[in-house]
Symmetry: C2
Subunit: 139 residues, 2 copies
DNA sequence: CATTGACCTTCCAGTGACTGGAAGCCCTAG
DNA sequence: CTAGGGCTTCCAGTCACTGGAAGGTCAATG
């Protein structure tokens, strides 16, 4: 199977598949003409990558998960630990975004949004009182 | 005021402040020795940037907001429009993350997480049925 | 047999928003 | 006079791709 088919079956763009090979996430065979060819096992790995990436795992986490995936002596506790950390991260991100939404909603609700220049949104952005000056809180 | 003080007062790292200057978001003066010096107006712009960035506006959106900020003939409707688009984006992101959390939570809850290799998380990642193979859905 | 067009290859560069680090100047205190 | 801290510029790296150029391969068509 060539990269085009692999792309279609895995749901990943061909460019991304080549990139994953570059960084060592899989090693497809090569035909005589230099074309990559993908086995069904390769397709499984690609689908696995597509799913775990879309669940918010970083590429490095996917690498870990893939190695556990291919290890018949793995312990499910190892996998669960990774997933639970990710769950916490997702929860944090949601909480952060909800906070942002509240703040922005508040600003938007107080702006009449007409032809006049008075704008509580800009006022809010230029002088909010309640947060201390700190370096790089967001990461 | 030198860049160190500007950093402290704005809550932005000095590197970031120089970067913002690089991309044309502000133009502080220079002292005889080549050091940048920041007026109180500069500090206001920096704080404005810090706040709007932390609210999820992209640097380009911040550039727009800054230009509205400095335009006494602005119409508050323009600002509100930008903010409302951002609100929708934040809502989308939250919804997406909540979906991720549900899926991952489901997988985690079904994994006993012990020394055995059986793992519903890996199973779920390797063969989930209900999503079609499509290119780059997430953005 | 030549050509077209789709598909494949490699390589290089760009994205966004910084961040790290090296090499070197400036200023003040001891 | 030296040590330190702060400032300067410039270059490279991050993450996970993505775009594009230049060119090789293949199957089908005229």
């Amino acid at each position: 199977m060539n990269i085009g088919d692999a792309s279609e079956r895995s749901g990943l763009p061909a460019k991304t598949i080549r990139y994953y090979e570059d960084i060592g996430l899989l090693k497809p065979g090569r035909s005589g003409n230099g074309y990559r060819h993908y086995s069904t096992a390769d397709i499984h790995r690609l689908k696995f990558l597509q799913r775990s990436r879309s669940l918010g795992f970083s590429v490095e986490e996917c690498r870990q998960l893939l190695s556990l995936y291919g290890d018949s002596h793995r312990e499910s506790a190892d996998v669960k630990a990774i997933a639970e950390v990710k769950l916490v991260e997702i929860d944090c991100k949601i909480a952060e975004l909800v906070g942002l939404r509240e703040t922005l909603r508040h600003l938007v609700d107080h702006c009449h949004g007409d032809e006049r220049p008075e704008c509580p949104i800009l006022d809010g952005l230029s002088a909010e009182e309640d947060q201390p000056a700190n370096q790089s809180t967001t990461h």
